[in-house]
Amino acid sequence: MKIQIDNITKVYDNGMVALDRVSLGIEEGTFISLLGPSGCGKSTLLNMIAGFVSKTSGQVCVDGREVDCPGGDRGMVFQEYALFPWLSALENIAFGLMLKHVPKAERLEKAKHYLDLVGLSAHASKFPSELSGGMKQRVAIARALANAPSVLLMDEPFGALDAHTRETLQDELLEIWEKDRKTVVFVTHSVSEAVFLSDRVVLMGNNPGHIREIFDVNLPRTGRRETDGFVALERRIHAMMRQVPKVAA
């Protein structure tokens, strides 16, 4: 398993149980989505894989090593882009390589390649404040990839974008992903986004956060949105999300 999550429980200081004995194995090269309503702990789980959030009990392993702090092997794309505003688009992408002391010419060369990959070659010297939301997120994706992480973690990356830009970026992300099939963990609350992008959709529930069901998406990658199976699976997941288990309040 690329990512192995065993019996993870997270209790915050205020006593809120964010995750209750969650276990999940993620195979190398799969695109997996964590889907669920707010408060189901999907972001907490992702942040735990990234090493930003500590666990109360249980174990998270990436590439067989237990996660206890953030690291460059787990690239992250944030909903709020998190680009460094004082660096140009190109310099943002080269940031990880700069930390590794890759010579300047080489890292700019590499950064250009990734900027090109997300279709922004014409905007290399622009600062983030000069870019649209969709462009910013493209730069953020390129930045994460340029650092050659072992897994790519995405925390509602398209949540702040308008519907049209969102679909465009989903298409572009898949196109890039299919080139090297990196392991991706993608957090979203959009059912169609999860079904469109993923090999597997992990549906989570809240109070406390737990895994309700895992759906294997056995649909063709090309033209997936138009297939009957896409609509059917989307409906199934929606139906399941609606029947909230009755828990005594």
Partner: protein, 281 residues
């Protein structure tokens, strides 16, 4: 039909941009005119007082020409340049000390809780004490030489620099730090490549405020304990009732402050090229 509409739109856009440009040009002329009008009103008032109707003792408000004359005289005698140099030296050295101490301590206290607990209460204890309150003591300790003025300026300037640095370090968006961590940044990487640049707008505005403050307080220091400098020049002229020279001192300080502000503003915009607020100005 649509062609016509397009032409119309283009014409309207062009007319609007021409109007905008004309109005920009007009306002670019109005600004220096406002300063000119002030000097003209000053000239007119003193001239009327001296030649038409006496309203006050003419010694109290000299004419602009008298001030200019005083300027030329003290320039020729070499006094003026000595006084300017003396004040500038004190400001620059005192400010440099404060800038290093203010940024250094501001960063240190933001990065280490131990130093924060140990040092912040003391610093905050001194903050409400105005620098002028220490001036007589400083003269007692360091004499009326340069040291007392440099220390005085450093003390006065330290607080705005320190506070702005603290604020800048505190307001850093946590997601930027997490982004750097997810690319393998160490603690020192984060400090160098995230925290310092992220805090730089606040630090720079603190430095600008500090420099303004240094300029502000040096005059007061030179009233009390100095044998050169622009403050000394003003106060010394008072003993001789040389009002043109007193006004000259004030005007020189204004001009120097104005020029320095322009240079610092340009510098700041250059360094903060990326900042949305600094573009297009």
């Amino acid at each position: 039909m649509s062609d016509i509409m397009q032409i119309d739109a283009a014409m309207i856009a062009r007319t609007a941009s021409v109007q905008k440009r004309n109005s920009d040009r007009l306002h670019a002329c109005l600004r220096p005119l406002s300063v000119f009008l002030f000097f003209f009103a000053w000239f007119l008032a003193t001239w009327l007082n001296n030649h038409v109707m006496r309203m006050y003792n003419p010694i109290l408000i000299p004419t602009p020409l008298q001030v200019l004359q005083a300027g030329i005289e003290s320039w020729k005698s070499g006094d003026l340049i000595v006084d300017i140099a003396a004040s500038m030296y004190r400001v620059v050295v005192g400010f440099a000390v404060a800038a290093i101490a203010g940024v250094g301590l501001g960063v240190l206290l933001s990065r280490s809780r131990l130093s924060e607990s140990l040092l912040e209460p003391v610093i905050e204890m001194f903050r409400p004490v105005p620098s002028l309150a220490f001036l007589p003591l400083l003269v007692l300790w360091f004499g009326i030489g340069e040291t007392s003025k440099v220390v005085f300026i450093a003390y006065a300037t330290f607080f705005p620099v320190f506070t702005a640095t603290r604020l800048g370090m505190r307001q850093i968006d946590g997601v930027l730090i997490r982004a750097a961590q997810s690319m393998g940044a160490s603690r020192s990487d984060i400090f160098r490549h995230v925290e310092l640049p992220a805090a730089s707008p606040s630090i720079l505005s603190g430095l600008r405020m500090g420099f303004g403050m240094a300029f502000f307080v040096i005059v007061a220091a030179e009233y009390i304990a100095a044998e050169s400098g622009l403050g000394f020049m003003i106060n010394n002229s008072r003993t001789y009732f040389d009002v043109p020279r007193m006004l000259l001192g004030a005007i020189i300080i204004g001009i120097i402050g104005f020029l320095i502000n322009i240079v610092l503003g340009k510098l700041e915009r250059r360094v903060l090229r990326w900042h949305p607020n600094s573009r297009g100005k």
